[in-house]
Amino acid sequence: MTPTLALGRRVINGVMLSLTGVCTVVVIGVLFFILGYITYHGIAALNWDFFTKLPKPVGETGGGMANAIVGTLKLLLLASLIGVPIGFIGGVYLAEYGRKNTLGFLIRYAADLLNGVPSIVMGIFAYTVVVLPMGHFSTLAGGVALGIMMIPIALRSAEEFLKLVPATIREAGLGLGLPEWKVVSFIVIPSAFRGILTGIMLDLARVAGETAPLLFTAFSNRFWSRGWLEPIASLPVMIYTYAITPYEDWHRQAWAAGLVLLILVLGANVISRLVLHRRLAG
């Protein structure tokens, strides 16, 4: 090997390595910039009142977003109750029974299309099928809109993680003389559980920040929303409404709402990972 060739390789290696390094720094830098910026602005308006009080009328300073925090949690709960079972059971079908048949192909295709539907269209859909017949906005309508949005990702992530379970594990179960449904329920699904739960957490994180589909469904509410059939406040919609007002105090509260939303999503992610980690270690 000639020294010039070796030098050329070293230069190319150095340049490529630096490029990948720079890209990594840029990506992580943007993430930390966003997190830092939101924290910086949000923390200033974050206080005990924010978590415990209702919004104050225009003109009065102070107040909080207790109703919107609870509202977001209620909407996410309802969305999960709709999106997770349908997505999960559908994913089990796709991975275990529908790998190559026509129905499987159609479901997969429909899920991918559904995933591409703009979120505001999902809002209009829920508006048409839930809000119009009921005659008013409601938590139920918002939950339906978000729940439908959760289906495709829950479905495809359940499918993908189940497919990662090796065929040899399935055959070991069948070879023990266990019926297929028991092999799937008690051997295959537990093996993929960790991955499926991670997929669901990401799915939840995605819809947690959705604003558009809530505008015509859950709408908003400056007071507590009782039950599931009244309009309800949520953090994303509060951020939206507060951010477009001319009031300084409301801007600060919008930042604080952004921070709380971020912490909710990150917290859910971290906790689910910790729980899973412990479960596996034990």
Binding site: E171, A172, L176, G177, S191
Partner: protein, 253 residues
């Protein structure tokens, strides 16, 4: 003379249009070890997968012919493949313990998932089969650790224990030592010789010395056909077919 446990007649198997087994007929004696040798892709694995009806779980796979297990055709009308697999256990090429289960749960899985809940029964069976699989002394202190944390050879004996726990009549082993080192292999071979007192064993192997060491009968497969079947001594010292001789003397291909 022992009596036949598996009588296979004119067994054919396909993957789609690919005809992988052609008119295989052989009889496996009970409480004997039958070894199946032959080059890769000759159909030996497919053959034993037909004996517990596992071949048919692969999409587009098909079978014809008859396989009698103690006299009953396992492909007969109304026969539940699940019940057949209960009677014909299987150990696979790569150790495949259930990844989320402990050593104990792996062995207990077959019984527990078919409804045995009583702890005392499970405890006893787990210990008994782990002893049969010559693994008990190595794992008795770590029954509740993950089965995946054992070494490869231990995992394979765990899989044997798991298969034995449901008390099959026949044990099929599909190249059980191909992923193991010679010491682990020796342990499994020793184990097979003890197991044949209770079970009828069919083992697929690439390793001719292994077949010669452990088996009573040997079948040589080539391109989906059973070229020769007979007592192991005869196959290895006095093969009748030229192709068998070429293969066992390493003159093949």
């Amino acid at each position: 003379m022992s009596k036949p446990i598996l009588e296979i007649e004119r067994l054919n198997a396909w993957f789609g249009a690919h005809h992988v087994l052609k008119d295989i007929s052989l009889t496996a004696e009970s409480q004997q070890i039958t070894a199946l040798i032959g080059p890769s892709g000759c159909g030996k694995s497919t053959f034993i997968r037909c004996l517990n009806r596992l071949h048919e779980v692969v999409p587009e796979a098909a079978v014809s012919g008859s396989v009698k297990l103690s006299g009953t055709d396992i492909y007969g009308p109304g026969v539940d493949p699940v019940m057949i697999r209960r009677r014909v256990g299987m150990v696979f090429q790569k150790p495949n313990p259930f990844p989320t289960m402990s050593v104990y749960d792996n062995v207990a899985a077959g019984l527990r998932l078919s409804g045995t809940r009583r702890r005392a029964v499970l405890d006893e069976r787990v210990e008994q089969t782990l002893r049969q699989a010559a693994l008990w002394d190595e794992v008795k202190e770590m029954l509740h650790k993950s089965g995946a944390s054992l070494s490869g050879g231990q995992q394979q004996r765990l899989c044997i224990a798991r298969a034995l726990a449901v008390e099959p009549e026949v044990l099929l082993l599909d190249e059980p030592c191909s992923a193991l080192d010679p010491i682990a292999t020796a342990k499994i071979e020793e184990l097979l010789l003890t197991l044949k007192k209770t079970y009828s064993v069919l083992i697929v192997t690439h390793n001719m010395q292994q077949a010669a060491r452990v088996s009573d009968f040997t079948g040589f497969f080539l391109l989906g056909e059973l070229v020769e079947f007979g007592e192991t001594g005869q196959i290895f010292t006095n093969p009748k077919d030229r192709r068998t001789e070429d293969y066992i003397t390493g003159r093949f291909g």
